[in-house]
């Protein structure tokens, strides 16, 4: 029963959806503060390479090594996002061009690739990798076992994160302030909220989570390092935020939907479904377009859920 196609697809959808979820949650936080960061792909690749480097470099028991990997990935990607924060928040540069610049700078032909080659990381398996944890021996439970109780630590962490961000956004004062900054920075400023600080912090939180998502690729999915290994996941994460109407719980649904598209290639090929591999590989990209069209032509016409000040620099003298 646990080998049935449905269970395998759902379980692997969650696995492949986890990096998308991390990155989408991060982008969601940044966009809620009014900062559109198109550099997610670049930040994920920085996370992938630096997390992998940390695991290869730091010794210690496996869990410690992996923990340091995730921490380094988050820190490095947050530092990368600081460039975008400085350019767009302090210097009021175009958020679109700055985000693209970040992806070119850090991306597959940029700094992440440079670091990977300088540190000689390619072609070697990770010393440690995130493996599935059988929670309370329920991993063999019928149907829900493989889906809910046989995932890796980062996936469980991502579930906790969805809850935390929901609480933060809707049940705490800083969360309320964050939403105010994204909707109407002038009003927030008048209320005495430090708009600049909120935008910096949440852009960098977004970077950190994108970094964790990237590390999931190099430490759980492959697990080795490769140039441009996220292959567009960062862009899908940006689309997910739109698809989720800027709500964390819907980001989870969307991430697993796209996780399913990403994993379909492996699952179906293993079951002797013969189609050219490119058909499966292009599925996540084509579905991103289809979903975006549906969202933007239907309810999205009213830009439901989009922070009103998204993409607009805030200048106190020019309000």
């Amino acid at each position: 029963m646990n080998n049935s196609l449905l269970v395998v697809i759902v379980a692997s959808a969650i696995f492949y959806g986890t990096p998308l979820l991390f990155a989408a949650l991060g982008e969601l936080l940044a966009e809620r503060s009014g900062v559109l960061n198109l550099g997610v792909e670049g930040m994920m690749l920085m996370g992938a390479v630096s997390g992998f480097w940390a695991v290869q470099t730091f010794g210690g028991p496996g869990w410690l090594s992996l923990l340091s990997g995730v921490a380094v990935a988050a820190l490095v990607a947050a530092a990368t996002s600081l460039i975008h924060a400085f350019l767009t928040i302090t210097l009021r540069a175009s958020q679109i061009v700055s985000g693209l610049a970040l992806t070119i700078f850090a991306g597959a032909t940029g700094l992440s690739s440079y670091i990977g080659h300088v540190a000689n990381l390619s072609g070697k398996p990770a010393h440690h990798e995130f493996t599935a944890i059988d929670v309370m021996g329920l991993g063999d439970a019928p149907f829900i076992g493989p889906i809910l109780f046989h995932q890796n630590a980062l996936t469980y962490a991502s579930w906790a994160l969805v809850g935390l961000i929901l609480l933060y956004l809707y049940r705490t004062r800083p969360g309320l302030h964050l939403r105010a900054v994204g909707e109407s920075p002038a009003t927030a400023d008048a209320m005495g909220i430090n708009v600049t600080a909120y935008r910096y912090i949440h852009t960098m939180l977004g970077g950190a989570l994108a970094g964790v998502g990237g590390a999931f690729f190099s430490l759980a999915i492959t697990p080795f390092w490769l140039d441009g290994m996220t292959s567009g996941a960062g862009w899908i994460a940006i689309a997910l935020v739109i698809f989720a109407f800027w709500r964390p719980e819907l980001a989870l649904v969307g991430a697993y939907l796209f996780g399913a598209f990403s994993s379909l290639a492996f699952t179906l090929q293993a079951r002797q479904v013969h189609l050219p591999p490119e058909v499966f590989s292009s599925l996540p990209y084509l579905m991103t377009i289809v979903v975006l069209v549906l969202v933007s032509s239907g309810w999205g016409r009213r830009r439901l859920g989009a922070p009103a000040a998204l993409g607009v620099p805030y200048v106190r003298e020019e309000r």
Partner: protein
């Protein structure tokens, strides 16, 4: 105290100074990265410049890189000027290459006078068609064109891989045993090779000439046609354009298609000028589409400046790729391009704003005065 004030008009000399300053800034910043990773920056730059511009045959090789960058740079400039973000030049270039090589295979027994114009046309049309997809989605469903055009880059990359590696397509060579085992594209007949013009010992590719004409055309289009004027209005204010009765939807599709046509031409030139075969790996590794964004931004969307910047960045790419190896790691070219963009963005602040040190004019209260008033 630092104050930032909006300038009423752009500073003229800064328009030139900022891109040059950006390059210098990027070189300094990447020198820090080189130093941090144990490479000698001076030696690296010296070798890069030598390989890119000054050594034997370097400039011809630089033109090979500059030609597609010129065309994708124009593609980005055409779209960005209207605030339409076509990030899909990469995929549109692949499709242009597919179209141009397809028509060249179909017309292989014909003369060059027929084949070459057909290839140019095919590149234009296929590139434009691929770009019209996100354009139409943007115009009619308000779908974010940044993401859709970018997703189509990946789809385009998978498409050309499929044509050569995973199918018995029209583009794939199947006549010999080795080509059936190790997939490769059909090599084009000599009549499909674009002429290169020798000027002072430097081979200038035909595509580069087309690119220069295209740049002049784009400049004219935006400067002195109704189409260009309306596109500029849309770029400056979409609501103003709407109230002025400009048909924004058509214009979005048209500008996206125009942008895609430039990128598709870049793909056709890749086939006709250099590769003479549909080569999925080579096309994808070069990532000319993303480079075009850097070119356009550094040229501040001016088509003539795009020519100059394409030559410059083409030289850096050429130097970077030809040196790539153990002591010259990959990734430096993209890092440098990203840093150039960052510096150009920071410099844009100087073009539009004045930065003043000190107190705003007309306000003369000093903290010391205030303290004295407080004490009294």
């Amino acid at each position: 105290m630092i104050r930032i004030e909006r300038r009423l008009r752009e500073s003229r000399w800064l328009v030139v100074a900022v891109p040059i300053g950006s390059l210098i800034g990027a070189v300094i910043l990447s020198s820090i990265i080189l130093l941090a990773t144990g490479h000698d920056p001076l030696a690296t730059w010296q070798r890069l410049l030598e390989r890119g511009f000054f050594s034997e045959g370097a400039f011809s090789a630089t033109l090979v890189q500059a030609t597609p960058l010129l065309l994708t740079g124009l593609a980005a400039a055409a779209a960005f000027r209207m605030q339409t973000w076509n990030i899909g030049a990469e995929g549109q270039l692949y499709l242009g290459a597919v179209g141009a090589s397809g028509i060249a295979i179909a017309l292989q027994s014909q003369s060059a006078a027929l084949v070459i114009p057909a290839m140019v046309l095919a590149g234009l049309v296929t590139g434009a068609a691929w770009a019209a997809i996100p354009g139409a989605l943007r115009a009619f469903f308000r779908t974010n064109e940044i993401i859709t055009s970018l997703m189509l880059n990946y789809v385009g990359g998978l498409l050309i891989t499929y044509l050569i590696f995973d199918s018995h397509s029209y583009w794939r060579e199947l006549s010999t045993f080795t080509s059936r085992v190790f997939p490769q594209g059909k090599y084009l007949s000599p009549s499909a090779a674009w002429p290169s013009l020798q000027i002072a010992g430097i081979g200038v590719p035909f595509g580069f000439f087309i690119g220069m004409f295209a740049a002049a055309g784009l400049w004219m289009l935006y400067r002195s046609t109704r189409f260009g004027f309306e596109a500029r209005v849309i770029g400056d204010s979409r609501s103003a354009a709407h109230y002025a009765g400009i048909r924004t939807r058509r214009k979005i599709v048209a500008v996206m298609a125009l942008s895609g046509a430039f990128a598709g031409l870049g793909g056709a030139s890749e086939i006709g000028d250099f590769r003479h075969v549909l080569d999925p790996r080579g096309l994808q590794q070069a990532s000319f589409g993303y480079g075009g964004i850097v070119v356009a931004a550094l040229a501040r969307l001016n088509p003539f400046a795009v020519i100059v910047v394409a030559l410059l960045l083409g030289g850096l790419s050429n130097g970077g790729f030809s040196l790539q190896g153990a002591d010259f790691p990959a990734g430096l070219v993209g890092t440098l391009q990203g840093l150039i963009l960052f510096c150009a963005l920071a410099g844009e602040l100087l073009v539009h704003y004045k930065i003043r040190l000190g107190r705003p004019a007309g306000v003369s209260h000093k903290p010391a005065d205030a303290a004295r008033v407080g004490a009294a």
